[in-house]
């Protein structure tokens, strides 16, 4: 029996576009691996529409063997919402970074969340605008040195990091699923992504997962420091866990009944 030397790719990945275009050590690949495995496990490859934003996330425009739309910067949530409304049988995933989601695209996310649109938003938070060279993003942490904050982010002048899932959970109605995972705990992140898609498939409401992810190129970190940053430092400001879970709520209601 021959053993394949290649690590297994999710079935829904598009082999023709591999190796992918992300930098070595980038978090996108692992987040997209989780997503690919979830698509396989749920058997929804024929129903998924994948929308990616501008920034590094756009490099995923031909990542999957699923219909994919690369949109304008910050416009992925509205585009996916439109596709979902036009064809509710499709499962729409809006994929973006923290710059696209929390700065230029925040209007789209906030209003889609407030309307409890039945789409899934998967937002990769790496604390910088990575494609353009590591400028300060909404999620840059206080004191973190980046290209446009060479002395570290000054919270007095530029505010504190955006708390995305906390905001989304505050403005969504019943049925929304909101969580923050991390590539430092892939099993957990994958389970969140899976629930966010199941939640959409059940038509419960808006589904949102933020994934803490690495960007060694712009953090200017070696492997050890990169891992330490995503595993130890980021959770100081970005608390990992489920913020809103209709599945749990349902269970509780049944127990109390």
């Amino acid at each position: 029996m021959s053993v394949s030397p290649q690590p297994t790719m999710p079935k829904s990945w598009r082999v023709e576009s591999k190796p992918h275009k992300f930098c070595p050590g980038c978090g996108h690949g692992l987040v997209l691996k989780c997503l690919g495995e979830v698509i396989d496990e749920l058997g929804i490859q024929d129903r998924v529409v994948f929308g990616c934003d501008i920034g590094c996330s756009l490099l995923s425009w031909d990542f999957f063997n699923v219909d994919s739309v690369q949109t304008h910067h910050g416009r992925t949530t509205p585009v996916m919402t439109g596709i979902k409304r036009a064809n509710p049988d499709l499962i729409c995933i809006a994929y973006m970074g923290d710059g696209g989601g929390y700065a230029i695209g925040v209007g789209g996310i906030v209003n889609a969340a407030a309307r409890n649109e039945k789409v899934t938003v998967l937002l990769v938070n790496n604390t910088v605008y990575a494609m353009t060279g590591g400028q300060m993003s909404p999620c840059t942490m206080p004191g973190q040195k980046v290209e446009t904050a060479p002395y570290g982010r000054d919270a007095e002048a530029t505010g504190m990091p955006t708390q995305g899932p906390e905001m989304i959970s505050a403005i969504t109605g019943d049925g929304a699923y909101v969580a923050r995972g991390s590539m430092a705990n892939l099993k957990q992140l994958k389970s969140y992504i899976k629930k966010s898609l199941q939640n959409q498939m059940e038509g419960n409401g808006f589904s949102f997962v933020e994934a803490l992810a690495t960007c060694p190129t712009n953090w200017r970190t070696n492997a050890e420091k990169t891992w330490e940053f995503v595993e130890k430092q980021m959770p100081q400001y970005f608390k990992v866990g489920e913020k809103k879970n209709p599945f749990e709520a349902k269970k509780e209601a049944q127990q109390n009944a």
């Binding site: 490859q45 024929d46 425009w61 999957f64 219909d67 994919s68 304008h72």
Partner: protein, 263 residues
């Protein structure tokens, strides 16, 4: 994005005064924005309507043209057309024999992507300059091929005209009536009205922009239509006479007076 991805969009614009918030009343100051207002060199189709019936007719047409050629299509009206009342016959396009161009889903077609069919992969960002260059060449070629099939214009009494009045949109109503009046007085005046501002009926206008004729351009803007005209008739001998009233309406009487002034 619609330009880059060749999405069949229809946008209806009713022009206001500008720049910025300016007035919500009326202008023809969004001609440049509507025809060419984007980064890069996206191709668009722009119909300029002059009354309610045309707004209705051209909106139907815009959907068909957008689906057929896959360029974003605009119906360009203005604040007057948006707010005034006049008679219009609403009809079922089927009863008029209008044939619909069949729409097509861009995503979610039958079958599993990568197994039964190729996935639909739509993007507006390219990795290399050459990639973009190639895509754009196709856009330009398609647009040029389409142009003779869709350009629309209206012209009258131009054969022997000393002055040809050019106007589009709601201003054309004043132009048409003024020419009628001036002809009744025996003056050699005609009109040319571009209906598609983009693609512009350049060859047709060029054919009459001859000799020492004057082309009087009447528009409620500071030369946005004039810019399209100049571009179209480059090299012609006719003289361009501007009649620009940015953000203001233009009446028949004003056009009559202006023509008499330049004749």
């Amino acid at each position: 994005m619609a330009e880059a991805m060749r999405l069949p969009t229809v946008t209806i614009i009713q022009q206001r005064g500008g720049p910025s918030t300016a007035t919500v009343i009326y202008s023809q100051q969004e001609v440049t924005l509507t025809t060419y207002g984007g980064n890069g060199e996206g191709m668009r189709i722009v119909y300029s309507t002059s009354n309610h019936q045309e707004l209705f007719d051209y909106t139907i047409k815009a959907f068909n043209v957008a689906w057929k050629y896959r360029f974003p299509t605009f119906v360009l009206g203005d604040g007057y057309q948006a707010k005034m009342r006049e008679s219009v016959t609403l009809y079922d396009p089927d009863e008029k024999g209008v044939e619909y161009v069949a729409p097509e889903a861009y995503v979610g077609k039958p079958g599993t992507p990568g197994v039964d069919r190729e996935p639909g992969l739509y993007r507006n960002t390219y990795n290399t300059e050459e990639e973009l260059f190639e895509v754009l060449q196709q856009h330009f070629a398609d647009f040029n091929k389409m142009t003779p099939e869709i350009i629309e214009y209206d012209q009258e009494a131009t054969d022997d005209a000393d002055v040809i009045v050019i106007g589009h949109g709601v201003v054309f109503r004043g132009v048409r009536d003024a020419v009628k009046e001036l002809r009744a007085e025996g003056l050699k005046v005609g009109y040319f009205r571009p209906i598609t501002l983009r693609p512009f009926p350049a060859e047709q206008l060029k054919a009459i922009a001859t000799g020492n004729r004057k082309l009087l351009i009447a528009e409620s803007a500071e030369g946005q239509l004039a810019k399209l005209v100049k571009d179209a008739i480059y090299g012609c001998t006719a003289e361009i006479v501007p009649y620009f009233r940015p953000g203001l309406g233009i009446t028949t009487e004003q056009i009559v007076a202006k023509v008499k002034e330049v004749l």
